[in-house]
C-alpha cells in the first residue's frame, strides 16, 4: 500500500515535469501594405546615325550643335547641314525616344512635344511637325512601349542669323 502511494506520487511529479517541458509558444503578426502606382518613363537615346546626345539614356538631354555658319565651317558628326538657297540653312540630326511603362495595362502611349519659348525667327521641327509656335504638338498617338523610336530634329536658321540660339523642347508621353 505504501509503495502504491509512493508510485502515484512519483507519477504526479513526472506529470508536472512533463508540463514544464512542453514547448511554450507566442505569436505576432505583421501587416504590410503598400500602394503600387503605375509609372511611365521617357528617355532620350543617341540614334545610330545621329549626333551624340548629351545625357543619353536619361530624361534630360541636349543636342549641342556647337558653332556653325551657313557658308563655311564644319558641323558635328552626324549633323546634316543643308542650304535653302541664299535664304536660310538647316541643321538636322536624328535622335531616339524610348518610353517604358510599369504596373499598368496600357499598351500604347501618346507623345507630344512643345517648345518652351516660341520662336518667330528660327523654325524648330520634329519630323514633319513645326513646333516653333510654342504650342503642344502630337508626334505619335499609338507609340509602342519599350521600343526606341527615331525622330529627326531640324532647326532652320535664316541667313541673317547671328549669335547664340537655344531653346528647350518638352516631350510628354501619356499612357493610352
Amino acid at each position: 500500500m505504501r509503495s502504491r502511494t509512493f508510485l502515484a506520487g512519483l507519477l504526479f511529479v513526472f506529470a508536472l515535469l512533463a508540463e514544464v517541458a512542453d514547448a511554450q509558444t507566442g505569436s505576432g503578426t505583421l501587416s504590410i501594405t503598400a500602394n503600387v502606382q503605375s509609372s511611365i518613363k521617357l528617355t532620350f537615346l543617341t540614334d545610330a546615325s545621329g549626333m551624340a546626345v548629351t545625357g543619353t539614356s536619361t530624361s534630360t538631354a541636349s543636342l549641342p550643335m556647337g558653332t556653325v555658319s551657313m557658308n563655311s565651317g564644319i558641323v558635328p558628326a552626324n549633323v546634316t547641314k543643308t542650304l535653302n538657297g541664299a535664304v536660310s540653312f538647316n541643321l538636322s540630326t536624328p535622335f531616339d525616344i524610348l518610353v517604358n511603362l510599369a504596373n499598368s495595362s496600357s499598351t500604347t502611349y501618346t507623345l507630344s512635344a512643345m517648345l518652351t519659348a516660341a520662336d518667330v525667327v528660327n523654325v524648330w521641327t520634329i519630323g514633319p511637325t513645326d513646333i516653333s509656335s510654342g504650342a503642344s504638338f502630337a508626334l505619335a498617338s499609338a507609340g509602342v512601349y519599350g521600343t526606341a523610336v527615331p525622330y529627326t530634329f531640324k532647326l532652320t536658321l535664316p541667313a541673317t542669323a547671328i549669335g547664340s540660339v537655344s531653346n528647350t523642347i518638352t516631350f510628354t508621353a501619356v499612357a493610352n
Binding site: 509558444t25 505569436s27 505576432g28 500602394n35
Partner: protein
Amino acid sequence: MRADYSALIRGWIVLLLATGMALGQSIGGPRNIAPAVAAPAAPTITILTSATGVLVRMRGSGNASVDLGRVSFFQGTSAPGEAVQRISKSFVISTRFALQIDCPGSFPSSSVNVTMSRSNTDATDAITIDGTILGPAPQFLVQSMRCGSISQHRLEVEVPVSTPAGSLGTFVAFVATLNR
C-alpha cells in the same frame, strides 16, 4: 533489495525537488514549491520600429503594421525609412524593423526559436525577410534568440512590373517557441 531501490528513487525525487526550489531563490527567503514546477508563460513578440526603418504601428498583443506608402517602378518612393531598387522586371521596396521577445516567468538565460510564414502566397509580390523568401510553411528567422533581447531585420517586398497598380497587402506571422 526492493527497499533499497525505493530509497534510491525517493532520494532522487527529493534531490530533484530541492534543486528546483533552490533555483532563483534568495538564501533564507521564503520557499514555495509551486514556482519550481509551474510552466513559464508563453513568450511574447513585440514588433518595433527600427531606427532606420519605416514607422511600425502597434496593433496590440503582438500585432503590428507597416505602410510602405506610394511606390512605383520609376519614381520609387518618397517615404522615409525605405528604399526602392529597380531590377529588370520588378522593383524591390526595402526597409527594416525590430523584433523584441519577452519570456515572462522564464530564466534570464532562456531563449526562443522564432519562425516566420506568410498567409497569402497567391500574391504576385514576394516578401523576403533577411534574405529568406516567405511562404506558407514556417521558416526560421532566428534560432536561440535570448529572451528580453531585440533583433533587427530587413524586410523586402518585390513587386513585378506586371502587377497592376493598386493596393498591396499581406501578413507575416511570427511564432516564438521557448527552448527547453
